[in-house]
Symmetry: C2
Subunit: 432 residues, 2 copies
């Protein structure tokens, strides 16, 4: 088997235990989003290439998996479809396609695979699940708050209790640049550099800012303000700047509306996040024990139009479900054993299959021995390998007596159960 074919580079086969773990995590998050009144949405695995062209940056575009035209066109080597790269472009497309049929605001969640031809590496895959929740068509700050609550609730459902929302806003960041006299044209680059503060430290950031044309004095003063333990100093400065003031108001409104999260949201003046398309309050979630952000989001009022949809406001968030799953310990419920293992001895197979059917109809997980051994010991080993709680033994003697022996696989104890009472008797033994 050394040369057996593998799954394509950067993809995974999900075998039972891991797949159950993934499914139960996805179900937990879906259940939370449903309680918030978000509706599920599933778009095709691919979109027309012309729909996605120009919608992603240059780097992202190079990561698209493109699908060859079919039939006689195949030899042309041209592509006309691309695998889903994210859930956002399809969302914008769906709003255009189905606009009038959708409720307004349109609150939807999408949990499903996306494909990116990234270089495969530890923890980075070419097929992975993204978990997005968005409200399209509402300017209300309550929509922002609802997303934050929903994401917090989803994290709790995934077993993450110790987390913190770092809240900032696009306008607060723009105000920050104005306060320190950084030219607007330099803004995006300067913010991208500031974003590295925690990773590379003050000195490296000051050096990079100098390259970008920001003096060391300005850089140091700005860093001192945004990295201070208390945000009071930077707050005072932002209050004095119109953009900064508006940004702070967005942040404070979101903090107020999410006060039920009891201190797990806070203004984070140094949290820089995707100036490229966010337009209002933005946030990122840190969780104890997890590297990087476990969730992120914000308001992006102009994105749907930019992606080809109508001009509607929007706010959303994304839960880093792959990152969370990678850190999660397997739980026993992810590996359900059999409730009942039926051994097969000395004929009577049709009766056994009927019994299996009845037990399954009563809701139990039941396996039937399908191997070639007629030895009980061998069959009990199979039952044990399948983590069976009970094994049913029905040899010639039991069949003649119209009964079966039911063995508790943990204790080894056996009890006789009459054929006529089989389902009820086995259910009783399972209840212990």
């Amino acid at each position: 088997m050394g040369q057996a074919a593998q799954a394509p580079s950067g993809t995974r086969d999900f075998l039972a235990d891991e797949l159950r773990r993934r499914k139960s995590a996805i179900a937990a998050v879906s259940d939370v989003f449903e309680r918030y009144g978000f509706d599920p949405l599933e778009t095709p695995a691919f979109e027309r290439l012309d729909v996605v062209t120009g919608k992603y940056g240059e780097e992202a575009a190079s990561l698209l998996f493109k699908i060859l035209r079919r039939g006689v066109h195949e030899t042309s080597g041209q592509a006309d479809l691309a695998l889903r790269y994210d859930h956002t472009v399809p969302l914008a497309r769906v709003i255009g396609t189905h606009g009038s049929k959708l409720p307004s605001p349109f609150k939807r969640y999408a949990i499903g695979p996306v494909w990116r031809a990234d270089r495969p590496q530890e923890g980075r895959f070419r097929e992975f699940v993204q978990c997005d929740v968005d409200t399209v068509g509402s300017h209300s700050p309550l929509a922002d708050a609802e997303i934050v609550y929903a994401v917090a609730h989803a994290l709790e459902a995934l077993g993450i209790a110790d987390f913190r929302f770092l809240v900032n806003s696009r306008e607060a960041l723009r105000g920050l640049l104005e306060v320190y006299g950084v030219e607007a044209a330099l803004g995006d680059g300067v913010l991208a550099t500031l974003d590295k503060l925690d990773k590379v430290g003050t000195e490296a950031v000051v050096a990079e800012l100098a390259e970008r044309g920001v003096s060391a004095a300005t850089a140091e003063s700005m860093i001192a303000d945004i990295a201070a333990d208390s945000p009071d100093r930077i707050r005072a400065k932002l209050e004095a700047n119109p953009r900064g003031k508006q940004g702070l108001a967005e942040v404070d409104r979101l903090l107020e509306l999410t006060s039920g999260l009891q201190g797990r949201t806070a203004f984070a003046p140094r949290m820089v996040r995707g100036l490229d398309y966010y337009t209002g309050a933005i946030w990122e979630v840190e969780a104890a024990g997890y590297p990087g952000a476990v969730a992120a989001g914000g308001r992006y009022d102009r994105l749907v139009a930019a992606l080809g949809g109508p001009d509607v406001p929007a706010v959303g968030g994304s839960v880093g479900i792959e990152r969370i799953l990678a850190m999660r310990e397997p739980a026993p419920e992810d590996e359900p054993g059999l409730d009942v293992a039926l051994t097969v001895l000395d004929g009577g197979e049709a009766d056994l299959m009927r019994l299996a059917h009845e037990l399954r109809r009563s809701g139990l997980r039941v396996g039937t021995y399908l191997g070639s051994s007629s030895k009980l010991a061998r069959q009990l080993k199979w039952a044990n390998d399948r983590n069976a709680r009970l094994a049913v033994i029905r040899g010639a003697g039991e069949q003649a007596a119209g009964e079966m022996a039911v063995r508790d696989m943990a204790s080894g104890e056996q009890q006789r159960v009459p054929d006529a009472d089989a389902v009820a008797g086995i259910q009783r033994l399972l209840r212990g």
Copy 2:
């Protein structure tokens, strides 16, 4: 919006109601398969092109969606990956890749999309869900019976009660040809023609068989035997032929082992199904009110090896879930309304968001008004549109009194609930 982009040809956007219907059907079938001790398996959306090349017939190969090589190779126009065409080739590949890690026999189900570049038409899609259940590594006829029971049980879970398994076997069909002196070399073509009997009638089949080199007398006698109301005559003839006898024994063993299905399985001598890879008992399921087969399967002991996996016996079935979903009536549970709609009046939004959070934590589906109107009537219309059972009204008067009005949306009746008792009070009202 007339020129809004659409989903690619032959694919569908699943909006909330339909998606919930699909998800609940898939969950019902998965739940059944789990009870039979089948484990879920999920393989990537694409396989390496060299893994699938030569594994499908020529026609199928022309329906593969192929993915362009990435990066600098993209301009070459060459493909190196193909979207999943079925769940069977990936199953064979997984057994090769993970062999030693898999239980033996390996019982798995796979429910997920496959992609085929078929010409889109009414009811035929380029992206659709296949629902397969297979046992690999067991020669036992109990494995065949278990698949039949599992499929029957899955059909019941999908709400189909009136169905019938038509059972035949590859050897019985081979025996049939021998009984009538049809040359082995003509066999596949002759059986393919016989398979059209119900569609085109005796006369057309006799004509086509003549073209294939079967005399009219032979054809008419064969058709009279296999189309007879009772299979007794053909049984007698097959019993007299060694292959026919073995085939009948396979059929009868499966009928005996599935006797718990109470007459919903029967020998069907004219049921011809995929001689190409089946090796033992084969079956198809007819259901009242459904065109064509709603499920099909059989034993295919040599296929896994032919597809590049190890040489292991296998038996499986497939439930036509798309066909079944297309006929299914929407059920009310597919369109859950809100349990509680919170209107937003005169401030107090942070308290409302907190209340919403608490109600959701208690398991309810809760929406908050996110529109721009401050008019109660407008907000109640929203609650009504969202099929809310209760609406919470908390204007300035209620806020001052530390309470809220809770309106039953069906009757219009309103009750006062104190803020301190909100969650319990609302839960009480929902219980009616």
